[in-house]
């Protein structure tokens, strides 16, 4: 926490080293969060890339009220939500194209190295409602407090806690049924 405060202070004063440290410290976390929210590796990479680039551009106007990890996580969540909205728009207008277009595109290089365990977890998370998934991943992976998630989702803290609880319950039964199979 203190390290983050110091990093932000340095970053706002133009330190590239501080930015590199922030990048190294949180890139994995944000990629994990984005891939859980989107269940699409390529889209997750794009979202995190854009999030860091936009963060780098905002050094002079940056105001981090809570913790840095939560701030970046919220930024990823917002971008992921926009992405999903756009994807839904495509899905509803073109029912024949069920597969996500981006993920089918083989890119010359991939940032995230394939991890079977992570993709299993993401598959299970993908079966939850988006709000439940967001509440769980932002709390557990993004390190955000329920109050902050409630503000982000525009709902009461009780609703977020319910989403978290029910989501976790459902996830538990999904993972258990998979284990039995």
């Amino acid at each position: 926490m203190i390290e983050d405060k110091l990093l932000i202070w340095k970053f706002k004063r133009g330190s590239s080293d501080a930015l590199c440290r922030i990048y190294e410290k949180y890139k994995g976390n944000l990629l994990r969060l984005a891939s859980a929210l989107l269940n699409d590796t390529a889209a997750a990479e794009d979202v995190v890339h854009d999030c860091f680039v936009s963060f780098a551009r905002s050094s002079q106007q940056l105001k981090v009220n809570g913790n840095l990890k939560g701030y970046l996580a919220a930024s990823v969540a917002n971008r992921a939500r926009n992405w999903n909205r756009a994807r839904q728009r495509r899905a509803t207008t073109s029912l024949n194209e069920a597969k996500p277009i981006i993920s089918s595109l083989k890119r010359p290089e991939q940032w995230i190295i394939h991890n079977e365990e992570l993709s299993q977890l993401n598959k299970a998370l993908a079966q939850l409602s988006y709000e439940q998934r967001e509440a769980i991943t932002l709390h557990l992976q993004g390190g955000m407090k329920f109050r902050a998630i409630a503000e982000l989702q525009g709902v009461s803290i009780n609703t977020v806690q319910s989403r978290y609880r029910y989501g976790l319950e459902k996830l538990r039964s999904i993972l258990d049924s998979e284990a039995k199979l």
Binding site: L19, S35, I102, E109, I113, L175
Partner: protein, 504 residues
């Protein structure tokens, strides 16, 4: 059933590994964005000025008085809907949309001297045809309908329409005049390029060029669909257009920075202006109609090939004859513009008949192996010795040097670097380049210029761009699917500096 805490732990501790090369690439992008933002004027000093004002009651009153006067001036002298966005903001705003639909009409191009002027005149109403674009900005899928040429039958004039649909893998081209359909398959690399280019070319789809937007002047305001729009106009010409000039009138919403309408007029020499195009329906983030990107051959069209037999084109291959008989061909491939204005162009020179010595492996191989990066270009029967941007002249010469070569089948591809004498602070690509060629044959001293194919160049802004697009193109045109190892972003930037300093 496992306890909830173990699920929480599982999610919390899920690990993700990243590719170290891509890590570097992304980090470089982030640092570049950071350096660019630092270069902009700092806004940090502004609050401190405010604090100084607020410290003293006198300055407080003075500041309040200034604000009141400013508000009164705004109300009485300046329209409150003063533009937040101008026409130069349009390209950036367009990038934030998900889907775009453009609809209007355009006159088919009339090749002067080709038709009886009593029958076909440029701009005549019978040459008008539907012009329509559907673009999915996130995937690059696109459908465009545009007039291609003029059909004259029994002195009756009509436009021939060209339809192109890109579904993310296949391109289907429909020729309305010939009633034919043709498929092309895009490799993953070309899909990546299409995604990028179709996003960026949306300004051109609106018949504008991003480079010319600075020339527009605000001339008034009008209300379109209940929205106040600023009118921005320009009259443009270009050396390559001869005595043709085009007048542009555009309507931009100052609140959103979105283009609402575009009208174009054209004139040649002293002729009267004629209406060239009108895009009256420009919609953003609209739902895409079902099957708008479907690549199924419509009834009445004869398919010249199928998806199964579709060509997988070499990256932007554009073949041009060198000699009048067309025995020798100089082919341009992908073209890239770097941040300093330097251009990387892939090209090859081959003969129409495979038995000719120019395609003999040993002959070409020996020639290419002798080349050094930064040295002269290969002495093939013909070479692209320099390039020049079309539309805007930066007033510098580009010097052609060898960068690398790749081989696919029996064709050797030169990857040449064209370095402008001085670093350019503006992007001169986009409108494409003229590729100047000359023959190195004793029996033929021909020279001339061809235009880069319709796809144009790709702007390389970052190391990631270089990695994905430049190295990707080299890999595509190589037997082993790899770009030459020593071609890296850093090496090329260093080589450009070295070449430029050698020119001084």
């Amino acid at each position: 059933m496992r306890p909830a805490r173990s699920i929480e732990k599982l999610i919390k501790n899920a690990d993700v590994s990243t590719d170290p090369i891509m890590d570097d690439v992304v980090r470089d992008d982030v640092l570049k964005a950071f350096e660019e933002s630092k270069a902009k004027k700092s806004a940090i000093t502004q609050p401190s000025m405010w604090r100084i004002i607020m410290k003293s009651p006198i300055t407080k009153l003075a500041a309040a008085a200034v604000i009141i006067v400013a508000i009164i001036l705004c109300i009485y002298q300046v329209d409150l809907s003063r533009p937040a966005y101008g026409i130069t903001d349009v390209p950036e705003i367009l990038q934030q949309t998900c889907t775009i639909h453009i609809k209007g009409w355009q006159c088919a191009h009339v090749q002067l001297g080709l038709y009886d002027p009593n029958v076909v005149r440029p701009g005549q109403e019978e040459t008008r045809a539907l012009m329509e674009y559907w673009i999915d900005m996130e995937t690059g899928r696109m459908r465009r309908t545009q007039p291609a040429s003029v059909l004259v039958k029994d002195d009756k004039v009509s436009p021939a329409v060209f339809i192109e649909v890109y579904d993310g893998e296949f391109v289907m081209e429909l020729n309305d005049g010939m009633k034919t359909a043709q498929f092309t398959r895009f490799s993953p690399y070309l899909q990546l390029v299409a995604k990028r280019k179709n996003r960026l070319n949306v300004v051109q789809a609106m018949l504008l060029s991003p480079q010319s937007l600075d020339s527009f002047k605000k001339t008034g305001q009008e209300i379109i669909d209940g929205q106040t729009c600023d009118i921005w106009e320009a009259e443009l010409g270009a050396p390559s257009w001869g005595d043709t000039r085009v007048r542009f009138k555009t309507w931009v919403s100052p609140k959103t920075g979105r283009l609402k309408m575009v009208k174009l007029w054209e004139r040649a020499g002293d002729c009267d202006w004629w209406e060239l195009a009108e895009l009256s329906q420009i919609e953003y983030d609209v739902p895409l109609p079902d099957n708008v990107f479907a690549t199924e051959v419509p009834p009445g069209y004869a398919a010249r090939n199928t998806k199964e037999t579709a060509d997988n084109p070499r990256v932007f291959q554009n073949r041009n004859p060198v000699d009048p008989r067309g025995d020798q061909i100089i082919t341009s491939y992908a073209c890239f513009t770097l941040s300093d204005g330097s251009v990387i162009l892939g090209w090859s020179c081959t003969t129409a008949w495979p038995e000719n010595k120019w395609e003999s492996d040993s002959y070409q191989e020996a020639m290419f192996q002798e080349l050094v990066p930064g040295g002269g270009l290969p002495r093939l029967p013909a070479e692209f010795y320099t390039v020049s941007p079309i539309g805007h002249d930066p007033g510098v010469q580009y010097h052609g040097r060898h960068l690398a070569y790749t081989r696919k089948g029996n064709i050797f591809h030169e990857w040449a670097l064209y370095v402008p004498e001085r670093e350019l602070d503006q992007y001169y690509g986009g409108l494409s380049y003229s590729l100047h060629f000359r023959c190195n044959r004793k029996d033929l001293t021909r020279h001339g210029a061809y235009t880069l194919g319709e796809t144009g160049d790709i702007q390389i802004k970052t190391k990631t761009d270089f990695h994905l697009f430049v190295l990707g193109a080299m890999a595509e045109l190589s037997d082993d699917g790899k770009a030459p190892e020593r071609v890296t972003y850093e090496n090329v930037v260093g080589l450009v500096e070295q070449i430029r300093s050698g020119l001084k």
